[in-house]
């Protein structure tokens, strides 16, 4: 069943937009920061603390905390199988921002990927955001 009336669906869609925006921004900053920090392959958490000395990585991590909270709020209102494809528009956004603002080259394979993901987002958007009533029986 759908998540109620238009207002309820509107709230869910608002969360979808927030999740996508914070995902894109957080990963852009974190990725830039981690490349400045350099190679880390370790099972020691202390090694990863080096990332916290980098401003880009810190901003990225803070935005990703907002992403995590909004994603959890979204999962309280919508199905996982709805949230996953719909929030995949973040990939499309990253590619298009790179193309139009940073003049990245987009190969035909990447354009096809953008097209497929957009198709997936549209298909998922045609389904009700929530199809369950309570918590899942197997994980109550």
């Amino acid at each position: 069943m759908n998540s109620g009336n238009g207002g309820q669906r509107g709230k869910t869609q608002g969360l979808v937009v927030l999740v996508i925006a914070t995902n894109v921004l957080g990963n852009v900053f974190l990725s830039r920061g981690m490349h400045q920090v350099g190679r880390i392959v370790s099972f020691s958490p202390a090694e990863y603390l080096r990332a916290f000395a980098n401003p880009s990585a810190i901003v990225g991590i803070l935005i990703l905390i907002v992403w995590m909270l909004s994603d959890l709020a979204l999962l309280s209102r919508a199905d996982l199988s709805f949230v996953l494809p719909v929030t995949a528009s973040a990939y499309v956004l990253v590619a298009l921002v790179g193309h139009f603002f940073l003049h990245d080259h987009i190969s035909w394979q990447r354009w096809l990927g953008i097209l497929l993901i957009t198709g997936g987002v549209i298909l998922a958007e045609e389904t009700p955001a929530r199809t369950t009533t309570g918590p899942p029986e197997r994980l109550r």
Binding site: S31, M34, L72, L80, S81, G119, V121, P136, L139
Partner: protein, 120 residues
């Protein structure tokens, strides 16, 4: 080492998302994003073993991703991401009891293929 990290990312991502979804459904719908509401949500999460378990799985996945990003490019993480979409949709249907019909399956497959193509 790279492929071991890819496997860890895919598996832990899937487990984390499924546990988080189950846990958040148990907490009830979040109605707004006011600071008070969010604080209440975080307090409930602190006592929610499903979401805490989900966090632990996602934390492992996150550190594996940081390691992967520091030794290779983002595109190497792509197979893990693509596999997660299909695995999570499967578990959403059979463990979370979601009504996954052809539109959602098609959406998951299109997104998984699209994510792979984007890495070219």
């Amino acid at each position: 080492m790279k492929w071991l990290l890819v496997g860890i990312i895919a598996l832990c991502n899937t487990i984390g998302d499924v546990l988080n979804t189950a846990g958040m459904k148990r907490q009830g719908e979040v109605e707004d994003l006011r600071p008070g509401t969010l604080l209440g949500m975080v307090k409930k999460i602190a006592r929610n073993p499903l979401v805490l378990g989900g966090f632990a799985a996602l934390a492992v996945s996150f550190f594996a991703l940081l390691s992967l990003l520091s030794i290779t490019t983002v595109s190497f993480a792509v197979p893990a991401t693509a596999a997660s979409y299909l695995l999570e949709t499967l578990l959403a249907k059979y463990i979370l009891g979601e009504d996954v019909k052809w539109r959602r399956w098609a959406a998951a497959v299109l997104v998984a293929c699209g994510v792979v193509l984007l890495s070219f």
